[in-house]
Structure formats: structure tokens, C-alpha cells
Amino acid sequence: MKYLIALLGLLATPAFADTSLFARENIKGWIDLRAVSANGEKSWLDGHYGKLRYGDQSKLSLGEATLIWTPRFTDTLSAYVQVVHVPEWGHETGINEAYLKWRPVPKSGLRVSARLGQMYPPVSLEHEGTGWTTTHTITPSAINAWVGEEVIVQGAELSLKQTFDDQQIGVTLGVFRGNDTSGTLLAYRGWALHDLRSTTTAKPPLPVGNAGWSQTFRRQSPFTKPLKEVDDRQGYYLRLDWRPPVPVSLNFTYFNTHGNPTDFDNGQYGWATRFFNFGAKYEVTETTDILSQVMVGNTKWGRMRTDGVRAIDADYRSAYVMVSHRFDDGARLSLRGETFETEDYSAPSLDNNNETGHAVTLAWMRPVNAHLDLNTEVLHIDSDRPARAYQGLPPQQDQTQVQVMLKVKF
């Protein structure tokens, strides 16, 4: 750390003409205020099984306050630090992404870039906005909501993109630590649709009941720590990109925490979690596009039992398709449909983590001016999760959530 500070100090000297640390353009942020109304079950954020950020309530609320610092050390080396405050998770304020970024000026069609620090692997097609925010809807899909909470890593990433006359291919390789609990929420809570992003200090709650995981695995804390390192083993991810000579872009990612499933540390297990993600975007016209992602994965922890299954061993799958149209004034209307499920192979009679569900989201995102966005969204979800019985609830639930968001940017 001392070396890092010394390095930063060196880079900050006026000898580097392109250094810009605290100029106006190095700092930005926003506050988003919301009017929300949701029926149905209570949210998982309150310790229940509700799959949305809000449930069984109508209120005016702070959505999020964010501060982003993007110091520039040289013309090719910069940093990105994002601090997020949300009223949930005990008024959590913490560091979301924080990394160094190196982008040398291309000398040919080969674009090289690298990142080092705490960051999201490039999985989401929906988070194309400033500060890893969604541009098409307020609430990301189940896939990318999960990425936002449990697929944030501390590592190094190298990306190579080669542009040819009429197409582009890319390879991105990441090696990381600090993501060994990834899968905890997915197994014990299941898929969820919300726009919260994890921080270094966040403790997302797990649904506690009169049976199930909380009574079976009592050493597990009633919350998870998404950035906790448990086993001191490195995880990795590989992404391939292809932009063929048609208005389509395709990507494929393999992610593996390479976790040791028998490790345990201070209330958190080491989860061996891996997934394949396939993403596609088709620009039907210059203003209309279709986005889709499919994710298939498995998460597990515990010793191998005689039947070849560990304490928790669950497959998870989800897919969405979104159609979006951008109007001349910059406003965007998007409709997304998705499906999700988890399949528990371990001991469903003791701790049932099976789940199926569907959701439909309609969103109207309108930039009013450079400092104000007005976004509206309606989301309907239905799901079947037998574990709801552990809290005395019917397994089958459905609910609708309406949000109006005013985002003030500076």
C-alpha cells in the first residue's frame, strides 16, 4: 500500500502534463430519488423471499447516491473509483468498483487494454451506462442483478481486440481473488431482480426460516460477503467477442471462482461457482435493438458425499430477451421477458433450493437534460420456491412493482 501511495504521488507530480486528478471532469455522481409501489411478498432485503427490491409497500425513497472519481495519471493510465450509498443493507456506503485502467494508443487495428483492481467482469449487456448502470431499464435482468451482487472480483484483466476491415474479434482474460462466496445468494435466496450493487463492505442478507439452510448449516452467517476471500485460490474468466460484418455482436464468457468447496472462514463457505454466459445484440435499425443473454452455471460447497454430491450442489439457469427502441429525443422504451430457475441436487428434503420463475419488465427511460433523467418502470414477476414454506408462505408468489425514478446528475 505504501508503494501504491508513493506511485500515485509520483504520478501526480506536475512533470506529467496529462495528469488530472481533481479537475471537474475527474469527479461526477448522482442522486436518484424514487416513488415506488409494490404488492405481493416482502423483499429479500428485509430477510424474506421477495425477489424484487421493494415488496408490499408504497413509499418515496432514496434509490442510490453515487460518487465517481476518475483521476488521470498519464494520457493512457487512469483510475476509476466508485463509492455507492444505498438505504438498504444497513445504510451501506462502500466502494463498488475501484481499478487502474491502462489503454495504450493503438498503432494498428489491435486494441490492448488492461484493468487492475476491484471490478465487474464484462458479462452484462445491460450495464452500458456511466458507473456500471443500466441504460434500458431501472432494474437489470435476474442474470445481471446477480452479477451486480455476487460476481464482483478483485483481479487483473487483459483485453485484446483486433479490428479487420469489416469485423472485430476480441479476447479478454481475467484472474481474480475475493469472490469465493459467489453463489450463496443464488442458492439460499434464489434469483432476484434489483439494481443494488455490492461493495467491499456490503452484507446482503439471506432468508432465515424455521427449516432449510439456516437450520441445517448453522455455521453460515445470516448474510453473505460477496467480496470475501476464503480459500486463497485464484479464480479466472475468459471472454470471446465477435462483431461479424452484420449488425450483430456476440460474446461468450466462462467464469470460474475455482473455489475450494471444503473451505470455511468466519461464517462464510468457499463456493465453487462457475458459469457460461452467452450474449447477443442485434441492431435491427439504428434506433431499435434486441438484446439477449443466456447463463447456465453450477454452484457448490461441502465435502463430497458417498453419493457424489456435496452439501450444496445446484445448477442455475436464466435467459432474457429485450427489445428496445430509442426515440429522437433520446428517450428509450424497452420490453424484457425472462425466465430463471435453480435445480438443487443436494438434499431438498432438508434444504430445498429449487426454484422456477418468470418476469416481464416495461421501462421508459427519458433523459430530460444533461443533469436530469426521468425513468419509469413496471415489473411483474412470478416464481415458485418451495423454501418459502420455511417462513410459512405459499411457495407460489407473484407481484408487480412500479417505480418512478428522478436521477439528478452532477
Binding site: 496529462d18 488530472s20 479537475a23 471537474r24 471532469e25 488521470r72 494520457d75 493512457t76 489503454r103 494508443v105 493503438p106 498503432k107 494498428s108 487495428g109 486494441r111 487494454s113 484493468r115 464484462p122 449487456l125 452500458e128 483485453s159 469489416d166 469485423q167 472485430q168 479478454t172 467477442d241 462483431r243 461479424p244 460484418p245 452484420v246 449488425p247 450483430v248 455482436s249 460474446n251 445484440k281 442485434y282 441492431e283
Partner: protein
């Protein structure tokens, strides 16, 4: 009167020997194609004068985009690159016609660069991959660029034989170029070109 009569052909000479040539560029579906560079090169050659290079030629950075997306200039002209955005940009090109970079500069600052060699210069921003533009450097004083309706006019063309060249960055023709021989005279008819354009997805994944 005799003097006037004898002067008349001389007075009319520039008019008689210079014509305007309207050009329309459409895609194969018949939709207008903007940002197409149209040039005319007389067979007997043409000289680029100081006035042709005067410009001003500008590629601005506005709303995280280059404006215009396509600029045509005569060889030897200088282009200004003002940054009208609130964030800094880093303009570069690795095109053989002109490799250069204008390292990071911020709002209200402009940099300039002279382009001597003919060819296509693809420019980008090292910070923002979605920013792309083209500077087409040509060896003739007769050049223009189509508007949103796919229309452009080549002005003051000298009578005689020559070649019209139509270039668009997304044209599937070899090097994006479509060439047509033409004779310019008082009876020259407006020209229409139909280009087959390729479409690629826009650069995404701002990581």
C-alpha cells in the same frame, strides 16, 4: 457595340467552361446515403490552389461523437479538432495515410493537424471507443460530401472528360470506392449512385 460583342465570348467563357454537377447517393433499398465523399478528377489533371486548402476544416468533439463523421479535404489542408465536450478526448489514427495522435485535451481547447498524403484517415478517441470518424484526403480541388438527403453538388467543373469517384466508409466496393467516367459539358445530366453498404453493430462494452 462591336467591342461589347467581341468581349462577350470572353465574358461568357468561365460560364461556358464550368458546370455544376448534382449527385445523389442512395443505398440499394433507395434510401439516401449521407456522408458520402464525391470527387471529380479531370483527365487533364487539376491543381489544388491555396484557396482550396483554406477551409476552415473542422472535426469537432461534441456529445461524445466526432462531428462531422466524414470530412473531405484537399491534400495539404489543415484540420482543426476542437473539443466542445466537458470531458477530455485523445484523438488518434493509425491509418497509413496519416499516423498521428493529439494527446488528451479538454473542453474549449482545439488542436490542429496537417494532412499531406491522399487517402483515408480513420480517426478514433483512445478514451471512448464509440467515437469514430473519417477524413478523406483527396488530390483534386473538386470535392463534396452528401447531406442527410444523400445529395451533393460538385461545383465549377471544367468541361471535358474526367472521373467521378464516390467513397463511403461502409461501402462494400473495393476500398469503399466507386468510379465512373464522365464527360462534363453544358448538357451533363445529374448523376445518381447506388451503394451497397455493410452494417456492423456499434462498438459496445465500455470496459
Amino acid at each position: 457595340m462591336k467591342i461589347v460583342m467581341s468581349l462577350l465570348p470572353i465574358l461568357l467563357a468561365p460560364v461556358a467552361f464550368a458546370a455544376d454537377m448534382p449527385v445523389t447517393v442512395l443505398d440499394i433499398a433507395g434510401k439516401p446515403v449521407a456522408d458520402t465523399v464525391v470527387t471529380y478528377t479531370p483527365d487533364q489533371g487539376a491543381t489544388i490552389g491555396a484557396a482550396d486548402r483554406k477551409g476552415p476544416f473542422v472535426v469537432a468533439q461534441e456529445d461524445m461523437q466526432f462531428t462531422p463523421k466524414v470530412l473531405v479535404i484537399p491534400a495539404g489542408a489543415t484540420v482543426n479538432f476542437p473539443n466542445n465536450d466537458t470531458v477530455s478526448h485523445h484523438v488518434y489514427s493509425f491509418s497509413p495515410a496519416k499516423k498521428f495522435q493529439l494527446p488528451l485535451y479538454g473542453h474549449g481547447i482545439s488542436r490542429s493537424m496537417k494532412f499531406d498524403s491522399e487517402g483515408t484517415v480513420a480517426i478514433g478517441c483512445n478514451i471512448h471507443d464509440s467515437m469514430q470518424a473519417y477524413i478523406r484526403v483527396v488530390g483534386t480541388p473538386y470535392f463534396t460530401r452528401t447531406d442527410a438527403k444523400g445529395r451533393a453538388v460538385l461545383k465549377n467543373l471544367p468541361d471535358g472528360k474526367g472521373q467521378i469517384l464516390v467513397w463511403h466508409p461502409l461501402s462494400t466496393a473495393k476500398d469503399g470506392e466507386t468510379l465512373q467516367s464522365i464527360v462534363i459539358n453544358a448538357g451533363s445530366q445529374p448523376l445518381t449512385f447506388r451503394l451497397k453498404l455493410r452494417r456492423m453493430s456499434t462498438a459496445g462494452g465500455g470496459y
